[in-house]
Structure formats: structure tokens, C-alpha cells
Amino acid sequence: MKKVLIVLASVLAVVLPTWVIAGFTGDLGVDLHTRLEGSSDNSTWLNYTAEDNPGDATLSVSAGDTVYLRLKTWDTSDTIVANSIVYSGTFTNPQYVNTPDFLGTGTNDDLDGDGVLLYSLTSYDSGSGSAVFGLNGIYPSSTVDTDYESGGITFTTDPDTPDQTVILATVQITSAEEELWISRAPRITDRALADDPSTTRVRILVNNPTATPTPTPTSTATATVAVSSLPETGPNLLSLIYRWLAMISELF
């Protein structure tokens, strides 16, 4: 019995990896591409440094306008499906990005309308303007014009955005999984048609000629600050012990 098991294990050890690896066409496997495009009217699309747009193309909008972004992803490999693609995205000057509607609302997550492979937002930090989002999969043999997956991001620029403020919207693929029949650990060629191999970007210039170039801070002062005692900025050991005991008692 032992000998049979050893033989079977040996066969699996040799055959299984061969079968999986043989499934990949070419050395790179999945050949993912992604491109972020921007529009002020939801119909004419620009990419900052994409191949089919002049370098430094800038989407020019007015303060208070709605900005439309769409993220395309495609896979030019012949047979390998990419699953669980994870992206990171950032806005510079996020304080002027109002009500961002990120992929995943049911309207923006599937612009190509195939209803199958959808983008979904994991998190958005309005303070730093950084987001994490994902796409559950992309089929092979897709291109920038056919069978790509497309998701949307919209936001309005703040009406008080200083004149000539630039907001850079940048997206990067951070990980993905390749699949033939068996899921593999991340093995990815992340690429974008942009100004470096791993990111895609839209440059948004906000015009607001009537705005004060550098707004002054707004006072939040009230006649009396609502505190019943001054903040406790030292080590209160008794309080800590009391809270510690309370927490332990909750465990039981």
C-alpha cells in the first residue's frame, strides 16, 4: 500500500506542475494592460500620455464641473484568464475632489455592460485621496477596443478650487492571479499605456479665474470651546487599570 501511495505521489509531483505550466502560452502568461481616461462630457476621452494622445494631454475643466474617468483593462494573452486584479489609485489635491463616485455603485462598475466581470471599490481615503479597488476577472484575447472591461469614476471639482490647480488621477495594478484551470499564485506583468510601465494617469487642470488664488483659512472659533475639562495628556495609571479590568471582565 505504501509503495502504491509513493508511486502515485511521485506521478502527481511530476505531472501536475508540468500540466499547469504547459497551460501558459509564452513566458509571461497573462499580459495585462490598463488605461485611465478622462472626460469632461462623458464622451470625448483623453489619457495623459497614452499612445494615441499627444504627450501631456490635459483635461481642462472649470471649478464645480463634473469629471468623468473610465478605467479600461484588457488581457492580450491568448488563453490565460486574469482573476482578482487589485488596483491602487490616487488623486493629488484630494481636498478639491468632491463626492467621488468610485467603481462599485452598480452604475459605474461595468461600463462595458457585459454584466459579468465587475470592478468593486475596497476603500477610499478622502484625506489622502488614495483608493484600493479590484476587478474580479478579465478574459484573454481582449484589446483596448474589444472585450475590455471598463469601469467609471466620477467626481465634481470643488467650486472654490484655486485657479490652475492640477489634480493628477493615477491608477496602478498592484496584483493579480493567473488562471488556466488551476489558480496560481500572483504572477503578473502589470503594464499600462502611460508614461511608465506600471501606472496610467489623467492630468486634470481646474480653471477658476474668479477664485482667490490662495484662500485663507476659515476660522472655526466659537465663543466657548465645548469641553468640561482640559484634555488628559499624561499617563493615568488608575484609569488604565480600571479600563483594563473592565475589558477583562467583558471577556468572561
Binding site: 481636498q95 484625506g127 465645548a226 469641553v227 484634555p231 488628559e232 499624561g234 475589558m247
Partner: protein
């Protein structure tokens, strides 16, 4: 099993038990002393609505610390978390450069195992004397204040944070003496003309 091996085994088991206890205590303390993942709110509160970030500089006592804006001085859970990344501007008090009283508070000391690099930022605040310069800097402007007075008050002496919109005042608050929560050291300064 030999006596020697029994001793080694016992020491090993005791070390594991002690290590586990320490880990549990550290975990509980982290939970009590503030949430670990506070990046979002810290980032939000380092800027005002115009995107400015401020730094407090007090050269006579070598203080340089970022100011976390709009921190609720009545919510201990919140302000203890914020104080991990700098000194705190009290919510409701004047923003730097605005009329009123800008109230900034920070640690004079804190638990050694707690997170943060500003646990003793105000430990030398009592060294300030009348006329010393306190600066609040941002990319757009530097504000200069001169110390008017230094005093020790009780925790419920909240009059020190009252707002007088006819003046540009700066009030620094910390627990005093350092290592206790008994009193508060309050430094008042006025913006230089």
C-alpha cells in the same frame, strides 16, 4: 527524563507562558490606548479646508511637531489617537492665523509602550518664559507668537480655552507635573504684530 532536562523544559514552558501574557497585555493596551489604524483620520486632520498643513516650532525648547487639526478635546479615545502623530489643535478653537484663541495640546509624558513619537513633546513647556517665540508654520505663511505667561491650573479650569475674537492668541496645554494628570500647565502667547 533527567533533572537537567526537566529544568530546561520548565524554563521553556515558563518563557512561553510569560511571552503569551505579555502579548495579550500589549494587545489589550493597544486597544485601550487608541485604535491602531488611524491613517485616514490623521491624514484628514493634518490639513485645513484649504489644504494647509501646520507645524509647531518652539526653538527655545527644541520642539518641532506637526499639528493635527480639529481634534475633539472632550473625546479621550480620539485625542489619544491623534496625539500619536503630533500635537493637537482643539476642535472649536481658532485655526492658526484666524481671530480668536488657537488651543494646542500635547503630551508631557505617556505610557512607554503606547504608540507615537510625541509622548514627551511638551515635557519642557515649563521652561518657556515671557517673550519667548513660538511659531506655527505652513507652506504659505509663518505665524509668530510671543509668550505672555505660564501658569498651572486645574483640569476643570476650562476658561483657558475660551475665545476672544478680538485677539490672536495661542494657548498650549499639557498635563502637569509631567508623569501625572493632576494639573494642567498652560502657556498663553499672543501673535506678534
Amino acid at each position: 527524563m533527567s533533572k537537567r532536562n526537566k529544568i530546561i523544559l520548565s524554563v521553556f514552558i515558563v518563557a512561553i507562558i510569560l511571552g503569551s501574557i505579555v502579548l495579550v497585555i500589549r494587545r489589550i493596551n493597544q486597544k485601550l490606548l487608541g485604535p491602531i489604524a488611524i491613517n485616514k483620520t490623521v491624514a484628514e486632520n493634518h490639513r485645513d479646508i484649504t489644504g494647509r498643513q501646520y507645524t509647531l516650532n518652539i526653538k527655545p525648547i527644541n520642539i518641532e511637531a506637526p499639528i493635527v487639526l480639529n481634534v475633539d478635546g472632550s473625546d479621550k479615545g480620539e485625542y489619544i489617537s491623534r496625539l500619536e502623530s503630533g500635537v493637537a489643535h482643539m476642535k472649536g478653537s481658532a485655526l492658526p492665523g484666524s481671530p480668536g484663541n488657537t488651543v494646542i495640546f500635547g503630551h508631557s509624558s505617556y505610557f512607554s509602550w503606547a504608540n507615537g513619537n510625541y509622548k514627551k513633546v511638551f515635557s519642557q513647556l515649563d521652561k518657556l518664559k515671557r517673550g519667548d517665540e513660538v511659531e506655527i508654520k505652513s507652506a504659505q505663511e509663518d505665524l509668530s507668537f510671543n509668550v505672555l505667561d505660564t501658569k498651572v491650573v486645574k483640569p476643570n479650569d476650562t476658561y483657558v480655552v475660551n475665545q476672544d475674537l478680538s485677539k490672536h492668541l495661542l494657548t498650549l496645554v499639557t498635563c502637569w507635573p509631567a508623569g501625572t494628570v493632576e494639573n494642567r500647565l498652560v502657556v498663553t502667547a499672543e501673535e506678534a504684530e
